[in-house]
C-alpha cells in the first residue's frame, strides 16, 4: 500500500463570478490557501467543487487553473462525475494532459447500473489514461452504491484503479475493503464525521473540504493519529466535529461558500438549483467558526 496520496486531501470549492463564470483568480487563491494550510494533496472538482454541474469547458478551465496553481508542490487528484462513459473518458484524458497526478471517478446513475456496467465503466476509463484512478463511492450523490466486494473486484481487474474513497459513512465498509484487499489498496475517508474512526482504522487519508474553512484542526487530527496520540486525537476531533457535521448537513459547496464569505473571500453562489446558505444557517456557521478561532 504505497501511494503519494496521504493525509489531508483537500477539496477546494469552485468559485463563480457574479455572472456565474469560473472565477479563476479566486480558485488560485483557494488552492494556495489550502497548500499554505498544510494540505498533503489537492483535489479540485470533487463533489465540493460542483464537478457534476459544470459544462465541459468550465470543468476543463477549473481543472487547468487548479492543477497549475498547485504547480507540483503536492499531488493533485481531479474529480470526474459523469453520467456517460464517453464524458468521463474525455475529462480523464484532459486531466492527464494538463498534468494531474490522478483522477477520482464517481460513477453516476440515472438508470441503475449492473455490476458489469460499473466494471466496464472503470475499465474503459482506465484503458484511456495512464494515471492512477481513485474509485469514489458516494451513493447519496451518485445513486450508485458499490459494495466492498465489487470495489475490491474493480481494483483487481482494472490495474490503474489503485485507491478507494468511501463516503457512505459506514466504517464497516472500510474494514471490509481492507480485509478483501489484504490491506493492499489504500482507502480514504470521504465522510467528514467519520474522520477520526477511519484514520485510526488505517485510512491512508481524509478527503475533506473542511480545510477551506479551517486547515489547522483537520491537520492536527491526522498528525495526532500518526503520532499514536489518542487523547489528543480525540480532543482535536471533538473540537472540529460541529463544523464537520454542519458542512455535511447543509451541503459542502453551499456551506463552504458561505463560510468563505464570512472569512472575507467572495467565491460566489453555488449553481442553481442549489441556493446559498441563507441568513439563519449562515449565522449558525459563523458561530461555529468563531468557537474554532478562539
Amino acid at each position: 500500500m504505497q501511494t503519494r496520496f496521504n493525509g489531508i486531501i483537500a477539496y477546494p470549492i469552485t468559485p463563480f463570478t457574479a455572472d456565474g463564470k469560473i472565477d479563476t483568480a479566486t480558485l488560485q487563491l483557494l488552492v494556495q490557501r489550502l497548500i499554505d494550510g498544510g494540505a498533503h494533496a489537492i483535489a479540485p472538482l470533487g463533489s465540493t467543487g460542483e464537478s457534476a454541474y459544470l459544462t465541459d469547458a468550465e470543468w476543463e478551465l477549473a481543472a487547468q487553473v487548479a492543477v497549475s496553481a498547485v504547480a507540483g508542490r503536492v499531488p493533485t487528484v481531479v474529480g470526474i462525475s459523469e453520467l456517460t462513459t464517453a464524458g468521463a473518458i474525455r475529462r480523464a484524458r484532459y486531466a492527464e494532459q494538463i498534468g494531474a497526478d490522478a483522477v477520482m471517478v464517481l460513477p453516476v446513475s440515472y438508470w441503475k447500473l449492473t455490476d458489469a456496467e460499473i466494471i466496464a465503466h472503470y475499465a474503459a476509463i482506465g484503458a484511456a489514461i495512464r494515471l492512477p484512478i481513485m474509485l469514489y463511492n458516494n451513493p447519496a450523490t451518485s445513486g450508485i452504491d458499490m459494495q466492498p466486494e465489487l470495489i475490491a473486484r474493480i481494483c483487481r481487474e482494472v490495474s490503474n484503479v489503485t485507491m478507494v474513497k468511501e463516503s457512505t459513512g459506514d466504517l464497516q465498509r472500510m474494514l471490509r475493503l481492507q480485509q478483501l484487499t489484504g490491506g493492499s489498496v489504500p482507502f480514504y475517508n470521504g465522510s467528514n464525521p467519520l474522520a477520526m474512526a477511519a484514520l485510526t482504522a488505517g485510512a491512508a487519508g481524509w478527503c475533506t473540504a473542511a480545510p477551506n474553512l479551517n486547515a489547522a484542526l483537520p491537520l492536527a487530527l491526522v498528525e495526532a493519529v500518526r503520532a499514536g496520540d489518542l487523547a489528543r486525537a480525540r480532543s482535536v476531533f471533538e473540537r472540529q466535529l460541529p463544523l464537520l457535521q454542519f458542512i455535511v448537513q447543509t451541503g459542502l459547496p453551499t456551506s463552504v461558500k458561505a463560510g468563505l464569505r464570512l472569512q472575507g473571500i467572495e467565491a460566489g453562489e453555488p449553481r442553481l438549483p442549489l441556493q446559498n446558505l441563507g441568513p439563519e444557517r449562515t449565522a449558525q456557521l459563523a458561530a461555529i467558526l468563531q468557537t474554532l478561532a478562539d
Copy 2:
C-alpha cells in the same frame, strides 16, 4: 381537471446509429408506429428516451425530429432531466420553440435539494416558457423524492405546472395528491405495473414505453377502464403484466431497444455505461413478446 393529455402517453426510445449518433430516420419510424398503435400523446426524451444522457445538440435534434414527426396529430410532451436550472430552461425554451405542446420536468440531484430549491427550479422554468409543465416525480432515477404535499404546493405556486406524473410505484401518493388538489390536477401513472390500479383510481393517463413493443394491450386497458369493464380490464392487464414487469426490471431503454431488435427494428444500443440486454435476458423477452403475439 381538463387536459389535452389523456390515455396512453407513449414514450419512444431514442435510437442511435452504429456510431452512436441520433438515428433520426428510426426515430421518425418509431413515432409513426406509436401513433399508428393508437397512442393519445407522444413523449420523446423521457427516461426511456435517455434524455439525461444526451448532449444539448443531440437532445435538440431528437426533440425536433420527434415533434415534427408527430406533426400535431396528437399532443407532444418533451422530457427534460437536467441537473442545473439553466440547462433545464435552455431545453424547455427549445421545446417551446419547436412547437411541443408541453414539457415534462424531472429535477435531478447531485447535492440533495431543499423544498425551496425544488420550488424555485420549477418556478424558474415556468417563468421562462408559456407551455404547460408536467411535474415528474421519479426518485429512483433522479435522487429526489417529492412528497404529495410538495407537489401540490408547486402546482399551486407555479401556474403552468398543470400535470403530475408519479413514478414511485406507490398508489397512495396518487390518492393523496388527488385529495390535496381536490382532483383539480390531472395525474399520470409512470409505474407500469401499477397501470390498472392508477387508471381505476382516476389517473388521467398512463405514461409508458410499453407501446414501443406492444401497443394494443396498453390501449385495451385504458379503454376497458374508461368503459367501466373491470373484468376485461383485469384480463388485458394480467396478460401484459409480465411485459411491464420485465421492461421495468431490466431498464426501459435497454429492454425496449432489445425488443425492437427482436421485432426487426434496429435502434442501436443504449449509451454507455448502459449496456445492451444480453442474450439470456433477450431470450426471456422474446418469450414474453411471443405469448402476447399469440
Copy 3:
C-alpha cells in the same frame, strides 16, 4: 381459488376494562355490531386486537369469547403473532379447539429469520392443527418481510396455508403472488388505503378494522367492485379514504378505541406502552367520522 373467506374480513379491537382486563361483554357487543354491519368474516386478535400484547390466558379468553359471539353465523379467523414456534402452536391449537374456522399467522422477529426458519415455523404450526392458515405478511409490525416468492413457496409446501394477507401496501406484491400461484391462492388486502386497488386487482377480501367505526362504506366498496361499478367504487372509496388513512397513521387499536368512545362505546385504552389517541387527534377523528355520518 375457493374459500369461505370473501369480502369484508372485520377485525374487532380487544376491549379492556378500566383495570386492564379483557372486557368480554364489550367484545361480544363489538362482534355483534360487526356482523350487523354486514361483515363477511370476523377476525379477532389481529394487529388491531393487540394480539401480541396479551398473555396466553388473556388471548385465550378473548378468542373464546369472540368465536362464541360469532356463533357460526360467519367464518372466524383468529390472529396469532407469537415470537416462538411453541407459543404459536399453543395458540393455534387453542383456536382449533374452540371452533375457529381458520388462524392467521404472523411470524414475529427479534433475531431475523432465514427463509428456512420461516418455512419451518409455518410447517410446524400447520402440522399441529387441521385448520386452514392465513399467512400474514406485515413487516412494519413483525420485522419480517416475506417476498412473494417465499410466500408462494410456503403455500406449496405447507398444505393448510391456503390464504395470504398482504399488508405491505405494495400492490405489486399481490400481483406477483397471483402470478406465482396461478391465481390458486386467495389473497387479502391488509393495507386499508390500498383497498380499492386490491379489490379491483382480484383480492378475495379486505382485512380491515374500519368497520368498527363505519361498516357501511367498506361494504359498499366491496359490493361496487363485485358489481363492476367502477364509478361507484371510486366514489365510496374516496369518501372513506380519509378515515382509512387516519386509522393507519395513528395505529389501529389506538384510533379505533378512540373512535368507539366517540360513538358511545367504552372499550378502554390500548395497552401500555401504547397510549390513547389524545385530545387533538381525537378531535380530528371526530371530524372525519362526522363527515361520513352526514
Copy 4:
C-alpha cells in the same frame, strides 16, 4: 461520567437442555468462564441471551442463576426486552430483588411507538425500581429506532437512566450523543464490528458476546485503547474482526451456541423458530476460531 460499568460487558447466551429447559449448570459454567476471561461486567439475558424468547418463569430463573453465579465479583446488568410496560416492570423489579446492579431496557415494538410513549415506558420502569437503567437502542431487533436527541432527553427526564448502549452500528450516533449530553452519559458500543472505533471515540465499554468464544482478544483491544497504543489496538482488532463479523451476520445466540459446541460446551439449540447454525456455517466458524487459537 462515572460508572461501575467499564470495559468488557460480557453477554452469556442462555443455555437450554435437550428438552428445551434452562440449563442452569451450564449457565453457571458460562458465567464463571466469562469472569475467568477477564470480563468487567456480566449481562445475562441480552439479545444474545434470547431474553425476548423466554417465559417469565424461565427469564427469572436465568436471571437468578446468573446473578448468583457472578456473586458480586463484577457488576451485573440484566436485559429486559418486553413488549408491554407492565411486563418490563415486572422483570425489572425481579432483577432488583435478586441483586442485579442494573437493568438494560430495550423497548420492543409491534405498533410503532411515539416519542412520548417511549419516554413514558422508561419513566414507568425507572419509577418502579432504584437500579440504574442502561437504555438500549437496537432497531434491527426491536423495530424502534431512538435518535440521539430522544435518548439524551430520556437521560435528562428519567433520573435512573444513566447509561446508553448503541447497537445501530452508526458511530455518528455515539458522537452526537456525547455532544448532546456534554459527555455526562457513559455510552456503550453494542455493534461488535464497531468496537475499536467506539472505544477510541470514548465509549465506556463494549457490550459483546464475543468473550463466550474468545475472551482474550476483546480484552486486549480494550486494554490497548486504554493504554493509548493505537498500533496494538489495530492489530488485535483486525485479528478478531472476522469472528465479530461472523457472529453478527449469523445471529449471536445461533453462532455462539455453535461455537461453544465446537469448544466442548453443550449449550443446546436456540429456541425455535431460530435454528442451529448448520454444518456449513459451523465449519466456517470452526475455521475462524482455529485461526484465533493459533
